[in-house]
Amino acid sequence: MADNTVAEQNDTEPAAAEFAFTDEQQELRRAVRKFAAEFSDEATVRTLMESPTGYDAKTWARLGAELGVLGLAVPEELGGAGGTLVDQAIAVEELGAVLFCGPVLGTVGLAIPALVASSEGPVRSATLESLVEGARTAAFAVADRGGSFDPTALTVGATRDGDGWALTGVVERVVDAAAADVLLVAASGPDGVALFVAEGDASGVERQALSTLDQTRRQATIRLTDAPARLLAGPEEAERVIGHALAVGATLLAAEQVGASQHLLDLSVGYAKERLQFGRPIGSFQAVKHRLANMLVHAEHARSAAYHAAWALQDGTDDPALAASIAQATCSEAFTDIASGTVQVHGGIGFTWEYQAHLYYKRAITDAALLGSAEVHRGRIAASVLDSQIGRLPSPPVATGIL
């Protein structure tokens, strides 16, 4: 219900003011939260993270077909909900809060946006529909350099093979790729860089599942040897499509970091109220209280930056690359700080395998590295807002000391 209402809302109403969530969006949030509580509690997460594929295909299919939250920002004519990136961010935030095991980043964050941004054609529509429904999953096998695309660093080549193409090369550490039905692969062809769709189980596709720091988010190295593929986005648009996917992916990753950060803040505050030492709740000690206050500030900044990026990408109100970099620089630092703080505030229990803190801590470290570290994004921010100003701004007064 929620997704349909959101779509209608956006056809008839003027664009919502930034940060003002509609009633439909609040309803969407409640629906996803309820689903996540039911189908992705901690015991389920722990079972899935040790399972062969790392996720439950049935639950994933329900997210798509029943809840309809895998293609919230996908236009209706392409089988999506016709909503906004803000809607999608809300759903991803709630999934991030429970460390939902499934290809959220690979499929929803990267592959679906790439497909939506590509020119229409049979390859796109056939691939997109099953992903939005949750019937299949996809991974984005495009090696990024800190969240941006470098066509000169491609490690896959494409050659014509009859009506289709054949891909050869290696892409390392592709998120959600081990179990993906579909791989979106960037490769250099005779006419330049293009984006291709390959079936995950095709001949010539070898996937080596990796043992990852974050067991709830799998990665695989993909070896392609004349693997059959279809062209999705040709050289005239591939870089734009990949750039769009990386910006959306960075934004949705930020939303996921917000969800997990908020969960950990709530968890730590709850613990600090309950845990007694020296005859008092530890949260009454200022050393603990002030750390939690800092975590609150981080969580608030993360939420603002992530949703600003979602609104900016949706409505064009800000430079999308800059907004995505602000979101990633802010949210990676915030989630990492909050996750470390969570371990610390919990003391010994926070270091145990049995307690959930380490699961989030490992997700925080991984998320901070994915699609560019905070440092890399700050470098982009500096290039955008500092370097361009050199020699163009007046200098504020500096005293010379001469009387």
Partner: protein
Amino acid sequence: MSVGTDTDVNSGAGPGSGPVGDAARVEEAARQVVREHDPRSVPTQEFLGAVFDAGLAWVHFPVGQGGLGLSRGLQANADSILQDAGGPTPFALNPIGYGMAAPTLSEHTQTPERAAAWLRPLATTEDIWCQLFSEPGAGSDLAGLATSAVRDGDDWVINGQKVWTSLAHRANWALLLARTDPDVPKHKGLTYFVLDMHAPGVETRPLRQMTGQAEFNEVYMNDARIPDAHRLGAVGAGWRVAMTTLMNERSAIGGSASRRGVGTISDAVELWAARPDLHTPVLRDRLAKLWTTAEAQRLTSERSRATATAKGPGPEGSVGKLVGAELNQAIYEFCMDLLGTEGTVYGDYTLRDITRNEDYRGPIQQRFLRSRANTIEGGTSEVLRNILGERILGLPGDMRADSDRPWREVPRG
């Protein structure tokens, strides 16, 4: 469409009601003020009087007190029109008056007539206001203050010393928190008053600070008298009234700069742009981090404005105050590190005209020194973190040695 007609529309459930109708109504009222009192040609006080009369000084205040009874989030709709037309920034002209006195007066004055009588000249800046809260013995522990107010007929007689009072030398009126009952625990024995700064027995002296300037004052009260009609809130309820003032203070200090790159971060960005000879990769990352934090805080203020209601500022204003203060210090520390030995000379420590607040306009070195106060004034960063912890996160309070004891018995010093 006249403002009056639109009010009728808003009383029903017609198409003009709701947030969109309210915004249109505020904007039309602002345009009407600008049409009838062009701020570029009429005197400032006349223009601000018209803004007050149109209910645009504080749109969330009641009608007749400079407001329209609407959501405070709509204030920006009015301000942008008024200021784009060349209107002044009244907050800058009467900061304590606009930021702290006005909300306190509107909410707690004994009669609406008395409130309006204070608020209109406050709004026009004819009356500058100051705040008499902190004392030499009561800083973070404000509720421990010692200035006494003793009832005498229809008056109260005030004795004590206040400190860190901005604008006391220019103010006609002061918000005063004083102790009316020393025999109950500290929070319960306070009462809130409005003091006439020109009353006999009130003496103001400048207080020089580390920048060399004197932005603040000490105020001495020796048998100064206040009529009971100038009491705000009930006798003994002063702490609750003071909370209105303090939450607005923090939200006023923390809630500035709504455009990207505006505010103190621009000092660092401009210095960086002007001095490529001093660049290093490490300093570049440091500035990018400061810029990103400033931007995240700006977006957080925008987000809290988007969800603000007519109810008044919540503790989230404390986030802005905390971050803004620490960021200001980090920004000027960056500037000084960039400047190297150039930063170690200083313009002039001579005490200058105290009617202007020079420290924000002076050289970087002076702004740097001034920023040391940012994490002390308006609530230290330590107290603000307690507020975030206790009032937003709901953590238990620290153990206190004074909460159940009569104020008179609590050690002080």
